[in-house]
């Protein structure tokens, strides 16, 4: 019995000189059998994508395979000439990418892009190509295939675009599909749909899928076998059930332990009755400004909530639910149409910009993207000290405080004169937190602060945030799309959908007994439900 379709043997890929290690991929071996899904899971920089890209010969020129073989249909793909690779790519090994918006050509209709697959390989007549494209769009579950055929990518939703990508990958009935984080850019409910679509297609077509992901939840949902990569090496591989339930390697155990559990920990203390912020009937509509596009998009509709002192209120929802708009409106980085934001008895929304300026100190924000949220041209010390200086603190005092804050968030205070580019994502996020704390705010608004981070780093930053909250008795509004994260850090959760809060209550209650249909759907869509349940979030630093 030999149904191995793709065999990676002792593959090594060299990194350009000056990188943090010599080999991006170090002696990796992996077999893919017919009709099987194998997941390569790892954190960023582990070499998982490079492994996948070397299979199809799409490595960037600085990356050179230096050893090993990629056997496919009896040939070593690493030695195959370019023309041969072109015949194989698309026809026998197809790819699905992470970001369907950029992986599709924005100026071509979706149907044409599928037809191009046949055209490139010289198959079928024009009429047959068209019929086959419609057939494929039907198979991937697009509700109106004819409409999707003539739609441009931007006219479809993210999930629909990913279905078009999958249709393209399926077009030539490949033996192998390589999927590089295909659900990472999607909402959790959409992700669940795409994962079940991939499962169904694999059963119907017997296609083998090499699935790259960073998410153990996704692994649990889709993989037959899994290979865990770390710094270019496969540290552990085996059947998914074995690896997830009984990991042999310390690294795998650490990664799995960092996956936040879905069951919220018991509430730490009793809630404080003092309200620090309330939003009353907040409304905001994005208006189509241009002459041709006058469509209004409601972003917030009658949103009301109270934030108590010392609590973390989670705002969860999918993209477009208005959760980020809410955060920006609270910070007055976007203007509300109507409503009241009451802090210290004052309605912030009614204040003039000038009167609001001194109030900015009471609320500070932590941003999602640790790369875009720090000015690359200013030193870390300056970035932290600038806020207090603007609000009238003496420069020397502000810099001294910045140094303290750095060690407070777990960074070396000697980093003061370094630039953000010298830090990793997790370290940058700590700098962002220190900057928010510098103004001694009462309220922190954190907009997806851990979404861009690897799972192990994410756990550390969450721990830091929980500790800070307790030590400084901060109140926090924590905006996230990730219900696992919400379960771990929020005392109460508000679920948003299409600009409205549809359900709000203590986290444990929402998770164990969701009232609304939508919340139930959200919870059901979380991949790998059983994961992380064993891990207990150790109790935090003493107050």
């Amino acid at each position: 019995m030999n149904d191995t379709v793709l065999s990676i043997q002792c593959l090594s890929v060299a990194l350009p000189e000056g990188a943090d290690r010599r080999l991006a991929v170090d002696d990796v071996s992996l077999d893919l059998r017919k009709g099987e899904t194998v997941c390569i899971v790892g954190e960023s920089g582990s070499g998982k994508s490079i492994t996948a890209f070397s299979v199809v010969g799409l490595l960037s020129p600085q990356l050179v395979p230096v050893a090993g073989k990629v056997l496919f249909g009896g040939n070593d793909l690493l030695k195959a000439p370019a023309a041969e690779m072109r015949r194989i790519r698309g026809a026998r090994i197809a790819m699905i990418f992470q970001e369907p918006m950029t992986a599709l050509n924005p100026v071509l209709r979706c149907g044409q892009q599928i037809m191009e697959m046949f055209e490139a390989h010289g198959l079928h007549t024009h009429r047959a190509r068209r019929a086959r494209a419609i057939e494929l769009l039907t198979e991937v579950g697009l509700p109106d295939p004819a409409k999707a055929f003539s739609a441009f990518p931007h006219e479809l939703s993210g999930g629909q675009r990913q279905r078009v990508m999958i249709a393209m990958a399926l077009a030539l009935e490949p033996d192998v599909i390589i999927a590089d984080e295909p659900t990472t850019a999607l909402d959790v409910t959409t992700q669940a749909q795409i994962l079940s679509l991939l499962k169904r297609l694999r059963e119907n077509h017997g296609t083998a899928i090499l699935f790259i992901t960073h998410d153990f939840g996704v692994v649990a949902e889709i993989a037959d076998r899994v290979a865990v990569m770390h710094r270019g090496k496969v540290v552990e591989s085996g059947p998914t059930v074995d690896v997830l339930n009984d990991p042999q390697e310390a690294y795998t155990r650490d990664l799995l332990a960092a996956v936040p559990a879905l069951t919220p920990p018991a509430p730490a203390g009793k809630p404080d009755a003092e309200i620090v912020l309330s939003g009353l009937n907040l409304n905001k509509t994005y208006r189509g400004r241009s002459f041709f596009n006058r469509r209004d998009v409601p972003a917030l509709t009658d949103v009301s909530f109270d934030l108590y002192r010392g609590e973390t209120l989670g705002i969860v929802g999918e993209s477009g639910s208005g959760k980020s708009t809410l955060g920006r409106c609270l910070m007055r980085l976007a203007d509300l149409d109507a409503g009241e934001i009451i802090v210290d008895g004052k309605d912030l929304h009614a204040l003039s910009e000038r009167a609001f300026q001194p109030m900015r100190k009471t609320m500070q924000m932590v941003f999602q993207d640790p790369f875009a949220s720090l000015n690359p041209q200013r030193t870390v010390g300056r970035i932290i000290a600038d806020g207090p200086i603007v609000h009238g603190k003496a420069e020397s005092l502000a810099l001294a405080q910045a140094e303290e804050l750095l060690s407070f968030v777990g960074l070396d205070p000697s980093s003061m004169n370094r630039y953000p580019r010298e830090f990793s994502g997790g370290q940058r996020q700590r700098i962002g937190i220190a900057r928010a704390l510098a103004l001694e705010p009462k309220i922190i608004i954190a907009d997806e602060p851990v979404s861009a981070l690897d799972v192990s780093v994410q756990a550390q930053v969450l721990k830091l945030l929980r500790g800070l909250k307790v030590r400084l008795s901060l109140s926090m509004i924590f905006i996230t799309h990730d219900l696992r994260v919400a379960a771990q850090i929020c005392d109460r959760v508000a679920v948003m959908q299409r600009g409205r809060i549809i359900e709000m209550g203590p986290t444990a209650e929402i998770f164990s007994n969701p009232k609304s249909e939508y919340t139930r759907a959200l919870l059901a869509a979380i991949p790998g439900q059983g994961l992380g349940a064993k891990q207990a979030f150790e109790s935090e630093l003493p107050a």
């Binding site: 500070q364 875009a372 690359p376 609000h391």
Partner: protein, 291 residues
């Protein structure tokens, strides 16, 4: 305590500079020309204004009738050609730097304001930019000269007030990109004033673009000065300007071609060096800003 993952890369720019041959060569040529311009009185063998009509149109070295006292010969007034070329470097570089300083200031300011504020401010400033783009620099410069008279100052000011368009357009779009980043939101949420955000947060991030456009615009400013002087609308006699030297050599084109090609070569090497330098700088700075 977590340490930064990389060492300080401040010296990285210098290291890349040293390994980039075109930037290194063009940079050395530029540096040499600046030294020549600054040290002109020490380097020039003669006074560039001193006429000696008995020694007119002596050919440079290598030609029959060459006078060893004048390495590159003399012009129609018997002035030492080498000395005039050396002093001409001063004019070209002076024009280049001061025009770029004025134009860079105007254009960068307009670009920053338009890109950061957007909306109405952007519309008004875009109208100003478009109006400027609709005016032919050369004709406008000639008109200014006709009204105010030709001089070095007039040339610098006119070119300075006309060559800011590229700064404005590029800095506007760069500013839009920078302003969309979260660190600008962070600055706003900390209560920074617009002035502070523009000068401390955004300007340092667009400065590398400013520098690159400055070098490219410097090349065109130098060429425009030469062209204006050639036509008699720029720097006036007896100031030694390369453009003016070309203009005076025009009648001798068929008899003493070296009168044309010496200042022509000087102009070519300066502008080429400036442009290659700017091009290389763009690659280097671009690589640095990609974090």
């Amino acid at each position: 305590m977590a340490k930064p993952v990389q060492s300080n890369t401040g010296s990285g720019l210098l290291r890349r500079l040293a390994s980039n041959a075109p930037v290194l060569i063009s940079g050395s040529i530029l540096l040499a020309l600046v030294v020549i311009a600054v040290a002109a009185p020490l380097l020039a063998p003669y006074d560039p204004y001193a006429q000696d009509l008995s020694r007119r149109l002596l050919p440079p070295i290598g030609y029959a009738g060459h006078d060893p006292a004048h390495f590159l010969g003399t012009d129609g007034f018997g002035r030492d050609y080498l000395s005039r070329l050396i002093y001409g470097t001063r004019i070209s570089l002076l024009i280049g730097f001061s025009v770029v300083l004025i134009a860079g200031f105007i254009g960068t300011t307009i670009g920053l304001l338009a890109g950061y504020f957007g909306g109405k401010v952007d519309q008004v400033l875009m109208f100003v930019i478009n109006t400027r783009l609709a005016m032919p620099v050369f004709l406008a410069a000639m008109a200014v000269v006709v009204v105010f008279g030709a001089s070095l100052t007039a040339t610098v000011l006119t070119l300075g007030f006309f060559l800011w368009d590229r700064f404005a357009v590029v800095i506007r779009s760069t500013t839009q990109q920078v302003a969309a980043q979260d660190f600008v939101l962070a600055a706003r949420s900390a209560g920074f004033s617009n002035t502070r955000i523009l000068t401390r947060e955004i300007l340092p991030n667009v400065l590398s673009s400013v520098v690159v456009i400055a070098t490219l615009e410097m090349g065109s400013a130098i060429l425009l000065e030469a062209a204006l002087s050639f036509l008699g609308f720029g720097v006036q006699e007896p100031t030694p300007s390369w453009g003016l030297m070309l203009s005076q050599a025009r009648e001798q084109l068929f008899f003493d071609a070296w009168l044309i090609y010496l200042p022509g070569l000087a102009l070519l090497s300066l502008v080429l060096a400036v442009n290659i330098f700017g091009d290389g700088l763009r690659d280097l700075l671009g690589a640095r800003d990609r974090t």
